[in-house]
Subunit: 461 residues, 2 copies
């Protein structure tokens, strides 16, 4: 494909705010076969809009199942996105020189959002539709805090109340993330909390419970389900969330045109899948429609939580407790508890169903990388390009560098594009551990995964 | 002046990397009378280039005393600046709406640099000239950590070693700033340290000394003066530092043209003076040369450290210990120890001589604001515009809002431009104190200042 390497000395490809996409790209329109339906956990039957209505506004439920290729982005959403969008596309010339590679490396930088990651792209959209449907309060859970921050900020823009159930161990270890949410006006409680029945039950059994994402989801869902004024919001995995993120890839395509270049390889880290999908789906469209056949798209996951590369493609619960509907996805089993990785955003037992579908069909590749080698590349990136990457994003950089070094060995002049989904300003504790040689790799716990997979419910696909 | 309000709905005025200024603006060319000379602390006579040669590369010494209006920015510096420059200019439409003001509020956002503030603009230039003159190692001090971070990053770009003496109390309270510097490869020690004679002396007298900027300066200067391979670097106050920051104002002027608007009021916070000067000097040029007579330029300082509004315009030492040359500036006395403000970057007893000269000549105004009211506006800004400002920058926002509300009362449609010099990601502890109602104001300590001023050396101006 792209042989027309643009070798001017430009490093940054900026767009005007009028270039913020006016439509989201919905990859469901281009799938050869529809994505498997979501099933009711009790009946095992496909769920309908009314099953989701207590939790989500109807417009988002419609988007979740829509097969329209393009969905218009309301002006009220674009008006907020322009506070940081379009995000810049960089050519990593300094990193290329340090590697001595003939490859051209580009990165889309989503850390320019005030919350520091790509998450506000969907938070703003979700809060907007909730406001349209007269919802005045939103509940959610957060682990490392990226998603909670994004939703808190979006709620402050639209004047909605925001309640965040933050996993207790994060609440204690990451006070800055909590304060950030409070600065934007959100109410943040450590989960398990005494504010819900689910939380109370856990606290009765173990007053010192450190909490988990599973427990926090249960609390946030209960909060929304039991209050008239409140709906629930999720920061990844769901179809509409991934679609809201496609502004990333749509902008990147325009920016590559400005660079007079085309991507040969597109790379993103994948936890729930939203930043990966945001960058890659608009490129995957060209593969699905036959326009681009040789393009490689690579999802990068941590070797300590390898849902795509080591999980099974089966129906499983989205949460750890087993309360959510059943979705078909690559999963390590909903009871799988990943090692205490510093890339908290990648510690999820499953993967977005749409990402899984593409992986199952061979449209995308997946690779798992270890924590220590990931931080090695993170530091190399910081010392050449300046930006200190979020540990999640650094997983993508690990594979970018591997591919760039392959290009060097083979004398290939390929163009590699990746998503630098956020900065690491709130993750410097992990950098400290790495620099002190205290960071560890987690071996792939084969028996642990096998055991967790035995807990996956039996469902006919 | 500017009556031609542009009222399209644009919020962001971006420039291409080719629009990074190719020359710095040197305000010394336009002063009616030259700035008072810097004096040798021993002889009381003006110092010459050779006095400074052990500490600074000759090119920076030349810039320090140059009266050329424009000084070319070498390509090797612009090549690094483009990693984040040009920085965006924003129209704060959401803040304007929240205030209900007819004023147009613009802000230049310097927090887009990887170190999170304007400081890298001069750090990159200083390291570049050191490298040109074969220096392989640079020493500096840092208090809150903004400057140390910027220099550490710049040294990593050019392959120089960097040693940072970090005030011990900051070293202990702000580990993330330290880790950031280490991620970029710098060596960071708590000051007082056993690495210098100055540090040893303090430690002998008080092993538990919390350190001070004065002690840290002494250590960094001794380090540079006693090693052949090492020079010293300063992040504010000096003429060449302020000049390197004028890229901010030069870009802002181009961006206001794109907005089809002109500033009526230009506002910046001022500690040592570098971000204030960086934005305002290119505008002050128009006042000095008679092109713009009605423009107001306002420096904002904390009421707990009011060097311009309450200090004396006399010769004083730049450091707390009394080792540096004597400079004529507005000072609270070099022995003045400011209250423990959260805006660490504004806790300096003096002010850049060039800023003082303009203040003395009535070209600029100054105003002091209190800490609590500053954080009120910081939170209001975060909840409308998204970005969480550094506490230093929030001082400017306090006055911006006061001026915007004055415009509302008086029905004036003025354009207000300010410098959002950095983000507050590493200052969230201060936000927590504010949100908990625990932040306090510091009364102007009249006797303390009077006492410190008695320690100012007697010099004939």
């Amino acid at each position: 494909m792209a042989a027309k390497a643009s070798d001017t000395q430009r490093t940054k490809f900026v767009l005007d705010e009028k270039d913020i996409p006016s439509k989201w790209y919905n990859i469901q329109a281009d799938l050869k076969t529809p994505a498997p339906p979501v099933l009711h956990p009790g009946t095992g039957q496909p769920i309908g809009p009314q099953d989701l209505a207590p939790l989500f506004p109807m417009e988002l439920i419609k988007q979740e199942v829509s097969r329209e290729r393009w969905i218009a982005i309301p002006d009220g959403i674009r008006d907020v996105l322009r506070l940081w969008r379009p995000s810049p596309l960089y050519r990593a010339r300094r990193l290329e020189r340090a590697l001595g590679t003939p490859a051209r490396i580009y990165y889309k930088y989503e850390g320019v959002s005030p919350a520091g990651s790509h998450k506000p792209n969907t938070a703003v959209a979700q809060v907007y539709y909730n406001k349209q449907e007269k919802v005045t309060r939103i509940s959610t859970e957060t682990g490392a805090g990226q998603w909670g921050s994004a939703l808190a900020m979006a709620c402050s823009f639209f004047g909605l109340q925001c309640k965040v159930y933050m996993v207790k161990v994060s609440y204690q270890q990451k006070p800055y993330r909590r304060i950030m949410m409070e600065t934007w006006g959100a109410q943040v409680v450590a989960s398990p909390s005494p504010d819900t029945q689910a939380g109370k039950k856990v606290l009765q059994q173990d007053p010192n419970s450190p909490g988990s994402l599973g427990i926090a989801i249960s609390e946030a869902v209960e909060d929304a389900a039991t209050r008239e004024d409140t709906k629930y919001s999720l920061g990844s995995v769901l179809n509409h969330v991934l679609m809201h993120q496609t502004v990333i890839g749509l902008e990147a395509k325009k920016q590559l045109e400005k660079a007079d270049d085309e991507a040969d390889i597109v790379i993103g880290c994948a936890g729930g899948g939203s930043n990966f999908a945001g960058l890659s789906f608009p490129f995957a469209a060209d593969k699905l429609t036959g326009k681009q056949k040789k393009l490689r798209i690579i999802a990068v996951e941590p070797s300590a939580c390898p849902s795509l590369t080591k999980g099974k493609y089966v129906y499983d619960f989205g949460d750890a407790v087993g309360l959510t509907p059943l979705v078909k996805m690559h999963t390590l089993g909903h009871a799988f508890v990943p090692a205490p990785l510093h890339a908290g955003g990648l510690r999820y037992h499953g993967m977005a169903p749409l990402v899984c579908k593409l992986y199952d069909e061979g449209v995308i590749e997946a690779v798992a990388v270890s924590q220590v080698s990931t931080f090695q590349t993170a530091v190399q990136f910081a010392r050449t390009e300046g930006i200190i990457p979020a540990p999640e994003s650094a997983h993508a950089i690990r594979v970018v560098i591997d591919e760039a070094l392959r290009c060097k060995r083979d004398g290939k002049r390929q163009a590699i594009l990746f998503n630098l989904s956020g900065h690491g300003h709130f993750d410097l504790g992990a950098y400290e551990a790495f620099l002190a040689g205290k960071l560890q790799d987690y071996e792939y716990p084969a028996e642990k995964i096998a055991e967790a997979l035995r807990g996956v419910p039996k469902v006919k696909a």
